[in-house]
Amino acid sequence: MMERKERKPYWKHTKWQMLASVVPFLILIIVLPLYAESLNTEKFLGFPLGYFLSAHGIVIVAIFTIASFVNRQDAIDHWHGAHEDT
């Protein structure tokens, strides 16, 4: 169980991790479809690039975001002693 004085630094760390995970993701999902039309002239794996980035690209970015969040947040939990006992 975490010490009382670790609570504030733990939450600060967690809050910044949340912003670091969510904000780049939000920016990407707004920007990528807006640029799709001009990117569609290029190709990648046979796909028009704009479509590929908006569909497959965003799915890959989402999986990467949440996977890195899970790992980072677990590291933060262990650093501050806030992790669960298993």
Partner: protein, 610 residues
């Protein structure tokens, strides 16, 4: 000190059991394929494909009876991350997501992507901002969490009442989509199939509650995903010699771009605020597949994406599922799995629509004025309407029903009929997962928060479980009756339910974790404002007063909910020390699950009394 240990609690034989189920399902499909070639009558094949899997799910559901609240309401907290993620993804998408979206992708191409992006974004938001904290709190329903967080029965009741609306809408949508697929498969009327689905759901879920929901739901999700992936993988091998349709439809898409230009499919440039999503009627291909913002403007694309993100993240039928994992770390991982499964399925759905457009475009290129046998079959089934009067065929001479695109692909590719029946059975399975998740969540809300909400102490075990079971039967029947009495486009119902959830619940539940200053009045104001503004916007959209229909209602609803929370919390006294301590505890993953601790203290208190 928490007592849960992952290795001790999770059933190590889950993989074996689901391997057996998958083998049974695959065996059934192979057997029916053989029987089809042997000339067994079509009616028998269809009925076996419909009833066989339903019997399997009911068998799994009935094999896990429960008589403890932690088993009935939270599956014993023994569901590992992969299965939770599978259940989350299939409950979010449901049959509507699979069937209607394949049609929407076919008709408007790129412009359908906001639902995909919104869905995966919703899971990212849920995983980062909501799920781990709700798992630490550990209550069985969302209104219970809100009530205990703010120590207010009023919040509990209000949230239970307001959340029932989007849940009923989604339940009706899923049941009607499931009944549509079942009635296509069996040839009987929709009403009869709705009754069959209701009986199947009751038989599957009532014995074990959430425990049955979880395990038979995993089976149903596996069936739905197989039924979605296998036919399109076969088509992918036929067309591109490589079985991964999500990746191989790339060169096909580029060829399609060229053909669409040659055949005169329009490039439409929509104004920023257009939002034209196809409904269930027959419609021709509206625009080129990869050209963005033809039916949906760029501004509405973004608004709709954000609303769906908030709606999925705060879905009251998805959030209780995160409390079934063995721990907070597993919950975070389960959201990762949910993102994987949801993204994969949606990419498959878009691949299906690309292959379908490819078949249609080949038809126009090669056949001139006559139509091939597979198209005639689609016309006979009522899926497509052809206009032969204007000379040579163009892509726009064909009007296809939005909800028939998924079932049309195996027919267009010339696959044996059993593949189409399998796709229909998969749709029924997907409908059962989503409808089951919603019905069980709503029934638990009714039993725990509405009827049992008068006191913080829950009812004694047996009456509590029986109340929940009776509520489940009632909710399922009510959903079926609603779906039959008020037949609306299921996709539109899903949009409304997402917009309502996003406006009503998302601001309240996110701020309840991330803002310590929030008070009970803030919660009530947020719920009421968000819900009210969203409903008014949807009604105004339906009456053509304001053009913000469907998911765009979130444009006004989410800010209204947030403002309600912030202003009401700042205007009322701050939270007490107890509540602040509670919030600090919610934010730390370690330590005992808060709800389990409350129940443990309650049991000790009751033991002391006797």
């Amino acid at each position: 000190m928490t007592l849960t240990s992952r290795t001790r609690f999770v059933n190590p034989r889950l993989g074996t059991y689901f391997g057996i189920f998958t083998s049974l399902l695959v065996g059934l499909v192979l057997l029916l394929l053989i029987f089809e070639q042997l000339g067994i009558s079509e009616g028998i094949l269809r009925w076996v494909m419909l009833l066989g899997p339903l019997a399997l799910y009911a068998g799994i559901g009935a094999a896990v009876p429960t008589n403890e609240p932690i088993d009935y309401f939270a599956s014993g907290r023994r569901v590992p991350a992969g299965y939770t993620g599978l259940g989350l993804a299939s409950s979010a998408m449901g049959a509507t997501g699979i069937v209607a979206m394949s049609g929407v992708f076919f008709l408007i191409g790129f412009d359908a992507l906001w639902l995909v992006i919104g869905g995966v974004g919703g899971f990212v938001l849920m995983g980062v901002m909501l799920a781990p904290f709700l798992r630490k709190f550990g209550t069985f329903t969302v209104p219970s969490y809100l009530g205990r967080r703010f120590d207010s029965r009023a919040v509990r009741l209000l949230s239970a009442g307001l959340l029932a609306v989007p849940m009923l809408l989604f339940l009706a949508a899923e049941l009607s989509m499931g009944a549509y697929a079942a009635s296509w498969l069996s040839g009987e009327s929709t009403a009869l199939m709705m009754m069959l689905l209701i009986i199947a759901m009751i038989a599957t879920f009532v014995v074990g509650g959430v425990r049955s929901l979880n395990w038979s739901g995993s089976a149903q999700a596996i069936a739905a995903l197989l039924a979605l992936f296998v036919p399109v993988a076969v088509v992918a091998v036929m067309v591109t010699n490589f079985p991964l349709p999500q990746l191989t439809h790339g060169p096909l898409l580029r060829a399609l771009v060229g053909q669409e230009a040659a055949q005169g499919v329009p490039i439409v440039d929509a104004r920023s605020f257009t939002f034209l999503i196809p409904d269930q009627s027959h419609a021709a291909v509206a625009k080129r597949f990869t050209a963005p913002f033809g039916s949906v403007g760029s501004a509405t694309f973004i608004v709709a994406t954000l609303t769906v993100m908030a709606g999925v993240a705060a879905s009251p039928w998805l959030l209780p599922r995160v409390t079934m994992t063995p721990g907070v770390y597993e919950t975070r991982k389960s959201l990762g799995w949910a993102t994987v499964f949801f993204g994969l399925t949606m990419l498959t759905v878009s691949a299906i629509s690309v292959y379908m457009r490819d078949f249609m475009s080949d038809l126009v290129r090669e056949h001139g004025a006559s139509i091939p046998s597979w198209m005639q079959q689609l016309v006979d089934l009522g899926f497509v309407q052809v206009d032969l009067s204007n000379g040579p065929l163009a892509l726009t001479s064909f009007k296809i029903a939005r909800d028939a695109v998924l079932l049309s692909l195996p027919i267009a590719a010339g696959l044996p009929d059993v593949f189409t029946y399998f796709a229909a059975a998969g749709i029924v399975a997907a409908a059962m997962v989503a409808a089951g998740a919603t019905a069980v969540a709503l029934a638990n809300i009714l039993a725990e928060d509405v009827v049992g909400g008068a006191s913080w102490d829950p009812l004694p075990t047996e009456p509590r479980l029986w109340l929940a079971r009776i509520a489940l039967v009632g909710v399922v029947v009510l959903g079926g009756v609603l779906a039959l009495l008020a037949p609306t486009d299921p996709l539109r119902l899903m949009f409304w339910s997402l917009a309502l959830t996003a406006s009503c619940l998302f601001p309240v539940i996110v701020l309840s974790i991330w803002w310590k200053r929030m008070s009970a009045f803030g919660a009530m104001a947020g719920l009421a404002c968000g819900f009210g503004v969203a409903v008014l916007t949807i009604l105004a959209g339906a009456a053509d007063v304001l053009g913000l229909t469907g998911p765009l209602a979130g444009l006004l609803g989410i800010p209204a909910g947030t403002l309600g929370v912030v202003l009401a919390s700042l205007a009322t006294p701050g939270p007490s020390r107890n509540m602040l301590e509670l919030v600090r505890e919610i934010r730390i993953p370690g330590g005992e699950v808060i709800y389990d601790r409350e129940m443990r203290k309650l049991r000790l208190k009751q033991r002391d009394r006797t």
